[in-house]
Amino acid sequence: MTRLISCLAASLVVAVVPATAAEDRRERVLNDRKEIEASGQWIYNDLPKGFAEAARTRKPMLVVFRCIP
């Protein structure tokens, strides 16, 4: 359950928490990749890799589109 909450937070909460004023958009884009990849649970911006992994593991896919404001 902890992993579930963690993953939901990464996909949904991270999506809606506003960035601080000090961060500019470039930083937010770069930090998003860094932080999400560091979580170890997400394939970042690589859909073919996701399809290949889903085919290999026979798991369903969760594909999240997130526009970084």
């Binding site: 993953c7 996909s11 809606v16 911006n45 889903a54 896919m61 969760l62 589109f65 970084i68």
Partner: protein, 351 residues
């Protein structure tokens, strides 16, 4: 969560539009799908400009994820039930094929260089869809102008904490007249298993005008079949004011003006009845085509009282929709405004 392969995409560049059909005005949207590209469901809804999360919740998202896992367990025996959830044929497979986006973006982001500028936003796909019609001097059809109607468009308020449970039915609405009740759990629409509000929106998005949608709800533990009857023009009840793409509609039909209806008190002070047009200029665009109204003499706090000879009450949405469906680029529309000095006659350029 170990049950899913999780993929995060932060760009619309090279997005497969035949697969990923969702409300492109969203800043967060999710798909649950099989490795063979079969879509189990969608998640992500919005109806407010400032509050992007009002129509979403952790509980609702988790419920949708769990239902997606259930569908995956039964797959492919349930494939026929999922047929209606799959993407529809599209004119262009990639966003970059739209004329207004062609040649502007590469398939991948430039992380080493200008990463922000290299990123195509999802809403640009919706902008490009509408420009196809406008640039061809054709009316923008309702299906494009009012995409992804929220269930409240037909009188259904869904509980964001659940998959698709009816919190309230608006009296006299299409849903009310079709027999929906508060507490109903929507199980299927047009035989499609419903995992979320977004799944209901998908069914509405693809419905005609008029339409009859076969639905199944769970009421008091029993399954009940209902037909949601939608009349001609039902989509026009959809609020598009929150959408980022409405900004471009304002360029097309309002020369960059942002308009707001007067309050009852302001109407009374201006001696305007509640049946008359009364749209205040809240913002005047300052640059490029968004400054067309400014160049035509419009000013902040002007009150539009007649547009193209019509002084009937309209919201900003209704005015924009009417103009992009009836007036083409290059035309100039006669507008009467109230300002401190009295009535002023102006011409609003269509673009």
């Amino acid at each position: 969560m170990d049950g899913f392969v999780c993929v995060r995409l932060v760009q619309a560049n090279a997005m497969d539009l035949t697969l990923f059909q969702f409300d492109y005005d969203l800043t967060f949207a999710a798909f649950f799908l099989n490795a063979d590209r079969t879509i189990y469901g969608r998640y992500g809804s919005r109806s407010d400009r400032k509050d992007a999360t009002r129509d979403m919740s952790m509980e609702g998202f988790r419920a949708a994820l769990e239902s997606a896992l259930d569908l995956h367990k039964d797959y492919p025996s349930n494939k026929a039930l999922l047929a209606g959830k799959q993407g529809r044929p599209r004119q262009f497979k990639l966003p970059e094929e739209f004329p207004s986006l062609a040649g502007k973006y590469k398939p991948t982001l430039d992380y080493e260089g200008k990463v922000v500028q290299s990123c195509m936003h999802c809403h640009q796909v919706h902008d490009a869809e509408r420009r196809l019609f406008r640039d061809d001097r054709k009316p923008i059809p309702d299906e494009v102008l009012y995409p992804w109607p929220m269930p409240n468009t037909v009188g259904l308020k869904l509980d964001a904490r659940e998959k698709a449970t009816v919190a309230e039915v608006v009296s006299g609405s299409a849903a009310d007249l079709s027999g929906f009740k508060a507490g109903d759990v929507i199980q299927t629409v047009e035989r499609q298993p419903i995992l979320s509000t977004a799944d209901v929106q998908w069914a509405l998005h693809n419905a005609g005008q008029p339409a009859s949608l076969k639905t199944q709800v769970l009421r008091g533990g029993k399954k009940l079949n209902l037909t949601l009857n939608l009349g001609t023009g039902w989509r026009r009840q959809s609020d598009i004011g929150w959408r980022v793409t409405t900004w471009d509609l304002r360029r097309m039909a309002a020369g960059g003006l942002v308009l707001d209806e007067l309050t009852p008190e302001e109407r009374s002070n201006a001696k305007l009845s509640d049946k008359e047009l009364a749209l205040r200029v809240k913002h005047v665009g300052q640059y490029g085509e968004h400054a067309a109204a400014k160049r035509a003499g419009f000013k902040e706090d002007d009150i539009l009282i007649t547009v193209a000879g019509d002084s009937a009450r309209m919201t900003e949405n209704e005015l924009l929709a009417r103009l992009v469906q009836t007036r083409m680029p290059g035309e100039k529309i006669a507008v009467t405004v109230f300002r401190a000095a009295g009535r002023v006659e102006l011409e609003l350029p269509m673009q």
